[in-house]
Amino acid sequence: MDFLDVLFLGCAALAVVLAVLTVSVRNAVTAAFTLVAMFFPVAAIFLALSATFLAVIQVLVYAGAIMVLFTFVIMMINPRREEAVEPKEPDFRLAAAVFAALFFLATTHAVTTYALSDDYETAAPAPAGEAGASGGAKAAAPAPAPAAKVDGKWGGPKEIGEALFNRDQGFTFQFEAVSVLILVAAVGAVVLAKRRL
């Protein structure tokens, strides 16, 4: 266990706890607060994965723009009535919980069974018995993944920009498509929310 491992464990625990709080607290303002707080450990994990630019963008867009919008709307409409309402029928909640748990278990199975750390083209399902016997994600990976390079240069703005705007194989079209989408969304939001145009 080195520094990054400790960081990952702490951030993961924090993120999970805050996410659980977000979906479980009654008050929408508290939920917004815990969600904002959840974005920070996730951004820290991005940072540890040496995606520096994305970590900052995560804080800037999610915490700084999207959640500000949420907070603003919540405070503006101030839905106090919600706190008195009792939650949905217990059997439905149980079904949802079962669904979520099943999804998680399926993903866990997939992650632990297939040797992701190897070259994915040649990855074959590991013998199921072995993965079960040795128990858990750790043992199923034959060789530990090469640790992410933490020199701060990998996910920097330069690399992302090069990939994004490369003349031949870049994502220029997709970029433009997304920008048109955002423009449409902005205009649409104004049209929807404004009382009189």
Binding site: F3, V29, T30, F33, V36, A44, L47, A48, S50, T52, F53, V56, I57, V59, L60, A63, G64, A65, V68, T71, F72, M75, M76, N78, V150, D151, G152, K153, G156, P157, K158
Partner: protein, 362 residues
């Protein structure tokens, strides 16, 4: 404090390889910066009172210490000794967390600010807690988080005036963030970098033969927009509607007292100081000495002293202009404020990006 240290540790992650004691150094640096900033904020309060007094033809604080220079300590002690009232009707958790959220971003921004260098040719030699290659976006991200302190503080007070005050000022902050970001985009287009030390290094030398090579001369419109927005973001006059006492019953901090009010107050001054440092770094050359003075200095402590001094002088002058403006201009009305932001600055910033794109792209 603890949060600031944790933030500093995270910022320095890219430097993990520098040796086993890097975290101790980081904590020491963070602690020193924190204290410097607190003292700066305190001195700023004192300077504000003095400048205000001068402009209004008064003397200002002159009892505590020589020329009243210790007045800010007395103010702080007074705030701390006052009774800390938590009204019954507030939401306790957010009422207490609010001031901290307002206080935190202004502090952490300083972690990426390059305030000097030992070698003017090498951006890597800049004195900064963390030389992030995304430093500029980092600062913008933290500034955009400062809204929460205001919004939650106002909401938690559970008082319609505070709620309206909080909403009003968060609307103001959101509105002025947009032209601010767009002004920064045109700056980024001419700088070609998001790293603050890199941007400062580019601003050495001369522009057009006689001007210092600062980005405020390359991008005058962006500089103007950014600076106006910096006033609005810092809740300074002429944009200080969040705390317009006479006509709007204060604002988000109406229900706050004692140390929690002090946190809002100090946080505002810390944000002001860091915003001014940001303007200096981006548009006024940061530590870059004008007219090639750096060539006369030997790299090492001479350069270090000169550049740090240069940064401090620019910073102090800019802060003085802030105070000067505050005590000279009247306050905007709220609809005028919104109209200026959305119908004045936003189109101007967009046009500026367009012009920059045509003229300056390399």
């Amino acid at each position: 404090m603890i949060m600031a240290c944790a933030g500093a540790l995270l910022l320095r992650l890219p430097g993990t390889g520098e040796g086993s004691l890097w975290w101790a150094w980081t904590l020491l640096w963070a602690f020193a910066l924190f204290n410097v900033l607190m003292v700066t904020a305190g001195l700023l309060v004192y300077a504000e009172r003095k400048v205000c007094a001068r402009i209004q033809n008064r003397i200002g604080p002159n009892r505590v210490g020589p020329a009243g220079i210790l007045q800010w300590i007395a103010d702080a002690v007074k705030l701390f000794l006052k009774e800390d009232i938590v009204p019954d009707h507030v939401n306790r958790f957010f009422y207490i967390v609010g001031p901290f959220m307002a206080f935190f971003p202004g502090m952490v921004v300083f972690g990426v600010m390059p305030f000097g260098t030992a070698n003017t040719a090498d951006p890597g030699a800049a004195f900064a807690l963390a030389s992030l290659d995304v430093g500029l976006v980092f600062v913008v991200a933290l500034t955009s988080i400062a809204v929460y302190g205001v919004a939650y503080g106002g909401w938690a007070s559970n008082n319609k005036f505070s709620l309206l005050g909080g909403l009003r000022s968060s609307a103001q902050l959101i509105s002025y963030e947009i032209p601010m970001g767009l002004a920064l985009i045109s700056l980024i287009m001419s700088a070609g970098s998001l790293s603050l030390p890199e941007i400062v290094t580019q601003q050495q030398g001369t522009f057009l033969g006689f001007l210092p090579n600062w980005y405020c001369f390359h991008q005058p419109v962006a500089f103007l927009i950014f600076w106006v927005c910096a006033f609005a973001e810092g809740n300074r006059l002429p944009f200080d509607l969040p705390e317009a006492e006479p006509e709007l019953v204060g604002g988000y901090h109406t229900e706050y007292s004692s140390m929690k009010f002090g946190m809002f107050f100090l946080g505002e001054y810390a944000a002001l100081a860091s915003m001014a440092a940001f303007v200096v770094t981006l548009f006024l050359g940061g530590w870059a000495l004008p007219y090639g003075v750096e060539a006369m200095l030997t790299p090492g402590w001479q350069t270090a002293a000169a550049t740090v001094g240069c940064f401090l002088v620019k910073w102090a002058l800019l802060l003085f202009v802030y105070l000067w403006v505050r005590w000279t201009l009247p306050r905007f009305r709220y609809d005028q404020l919104m109209r200026l932001g959305w119908k004045g600055l936003l189109p101007l910033a967009l046009a500026n990006i367009f012009v920059t794109g045509v003229l300056a792209v390399r």
